[in-house]
């Protein structure tokens, strides 16, 4: 007997072109075009990462020097430098260096000496604030009035780029937003998907989702102009704009995200689950709380994860309602500055291609990586839920 023939291959023609396509090359081309256009989303995610990270690369590799005072070498030592050493000393790229003649290089060396003479005399002036050690670690700055060791101060003679205050700011506003938004949104999702009457449900879901249609600049405006004064009267704290106000306003942006995903997850649990429980004599809330919620748990968790991603990435709300003072403090009622607000507020004033500009891109890249990972996690969890409900696991 001969070998069994692989029947699956018969439908595939020469080089993957199906039989019908030979007669219609234009259609075949159009379909290939459709495939290539559909790769745009992948390309864009890739480009976003590459082009945000590209601007931040010199900082990541430690190639930038933000020191206000860079000591000048005496002439005899400059004469001893190799061409590469000289290029590094003058801070030029290989292309720039190749384009200069001897005289131009000599004048650059003179400029460097002048700069060194005129630089501020503070002991901090020689510090390169753009190095990783100073971006993340503490430093006892000599001119700090409050004795803070973690300082974000990108203005003035000596630039201080410590990222810790920004991380703390983002963490504080995000924590408040999630503590406020998650319980409310989850409770509403349970009510709308499980307990409300079908006719009511038809109205409630779009109505809650309408909140997602309020632009974040309007939520920021509302936090700044209305809620800040209202909450200050209620709680009696000192600084009008702070992490608490920003967090609550941010919560308004997070609620529709968490609600929408959790509601979808709860609705995707087959009706047979809750109907079986009801048939056994369970009340509606028992079926919802003990049967449907555990079944949809991964989806509910994904909703919280994606809500977190939204909260750390939201810009305008935090920019307008948090007060934007970069102080290291764990108090919710102090003015705070988040990562996103810092980028939005400072990028326009940063020198194009300078260290400040590149550090802002660096924190943008960090933000992108953080949300990429949260999205990936949320995505995987939702997949598991789908598999579980379809009985694949």
């Amino acid at each position: 007997m001969s070998e069994p023939r692989d029947t699956t291959k018969r439908t595939v023609g020469w080089m993957g072109i199906h039989r019908g396509h030979r007669a219609r090359p234009a259609e075949w081309l159009a379909e290939q075009g459709i495939f290539f256009v559909s790769l745009t989303a992948i390309l864009m995610v890739f480009l976003i990462f590459v082009f945000v990270a590209r601007e931040a690369l010199p900082i990541v590799l430690g190639r930038m020097d933000s020191a206000a005072h860079r000591p000048a070498l005496p002439d005899e030592q400059v004469a001893l430098l190799t061409p590469d050493g000289l290029r590094d000393y003058l801070g030029l790229t290989a292309k720039e260096f190749a384009g200069l003649d001897k005289e131009a290089i000599q004048s650059l060396i003179e400029v460097r000496k002048e700069e060194a003479k005129e630089a501020p005399k503070s002991p901090d002036a020689k510090i390169n604030g753009a190095a990783w050690r100073y971006l993340l670690g503490p430093h006892p700055w000599s001119d700090s009035a409050t004795g803070d060791r973690y300082v974000w101060q990108p203005v003035g003679a000596i630039h201080k780029y410590n990222l810790v205050p920004l991380f703390i700011g983002t963490l504080k506003t995000t924590a408040v937003a999630l503590l406020f938004a998650v319980p409310v949104a989850l409770a509403a999702a349970i009510y709308v998907s499980q307990l409300a009457r079908p006719t009511l449900r038809e109205w409630l879901k779009p109505a809650v989702e309408l909140l997602a249609g309020v632009p974040s600049v309007v939520l920021g405006f509302f936090g700044l102009m209305v809620m800040a004064s209202f909450l200050q009267r209620g709680f009696g704290y000192e600084s009008r704009l702070n992490a608490f106000v920003a967090g609550i306003a941010l919560g308004l942006a997070v609620i529709p995200v968490v609600f929408s995903i959790a509601e979808d997850a709860l609705t995707s649990v087959p009706r047979a689950y809750s109907q079986a429980a009801l048939a056994l004599g369970a009340s509606k809330w028992q079926a919802a709380w003990q049967i449907v919620l555990p079944a949809a748990a991964p989806g509910v968790f994904a909703a919280v994860v994606l809500g977190f991603g939204r909260a750390i990435g939201e810009t305008m709300v935090v920019l307008m309602a948090s007060g934007n003072a970069s102080i290291v403090s764990w108090s919710l009622f102090d003015s705070t500055r988040s990562i996103t607000a810092t980028i939005a507020a400072e990028l326009a004033e940063a020198v194009f291609g300078g260290h400040h500009y590149r550090i802002l891109f660096l924190i943008g890249a960090l933000l992108f990586v953080a949300t990429f990972l949260t999205n990936l996690a949320g995505d995987l969890i939702m997949h598991r839920l789908k598999d579980r409900l379809e009985g694949k696991r």
């Binding site: 459709i34 256009v37 992948i42 082009f51 809330w285 990028l347 943008g364 933000l367 949300t371």
Partner: protein, 316 residues
Amino acid sequence: MTSPATISSKLDFRTRGFDFASFAFTGVTGLATLFILLLLGIILANVVWHGWETFSWRFLTGGADQDMFDVRKAGVLPMVIGTALRVLLMTLVVLPVGVITAVYLTEYANSTALTTRIIRGAVNNLAGVPSIVFGLFGLGFFISFIGRGLDAGAAEPLWGKPAILWASLTLAVMTLPLVIVATEESLRAITPGLREASLALGATKLETILKIVLPEALPGILTGGILAVGRAGGEVAPILFTGAAYYMRDLPKAPTDQFMDLGYHVFILSTQSPDIEKTRPILFATVLALLLLTMSLNLVAILVRARVRRKMRAGH
């Protein structure tokens, strides 16, 4: 071994006379829903209440040649036009790309293939990228990479600076997932029978898609477009460095011009106003204009979407 006794002790389903737990649970979750709607209502009512007085025909059609901080003269026409233009340009780019991607994902792709899963993953990820990162991307890619590349050798930068074109393209990247997801949903809502009937009559797959599937999916495609416009219309963070201007005498005339924007103007009025008490009425009226734009678009999208979903349930 599982005896009936252990089941009933774990899940206590015995009914009592008045079920307090049920009452409390329904009450708390219902109140949470009401609370969200109340917050939405407060925001909208507050803006309408304070903004109504200044919100007039003159305000909507007033130009930028007047003092934009003067209550009697300020107008938002340049901002409305700027926002409309950038959103229009964005739609021209995002709609074709989004619809084609959705067509590939629903009509052609093998749902278990690796490519399909990566495309879906990318779409989901794109939806979660923070808006400020899109701003950085627009600056790093469109302006400094493409724009400066086009300018190479020119004395005066033409493309390599913030412009309405770059802002629109940045927003198109941001709203791509919205269009894809909405179109996909409406394509899936079409009964397979319709496609099969067309194929059985001898139409090719592409003909079926172009002449049967897409016209049928039009409401869903429109929903995607409207949602994208509603979302992009209110976004400020991505256009901060890619094209929005604090003040411009003239309306944008070329794709390389900057523009004034409604959302950005709200930001300026709330944070950089010379006298916040005096400009408060302008601020509320501007917010009202912005909300009217985005909320009406969202409302339309929600209504169309509800119709698509009802049809889908009827179809399957």
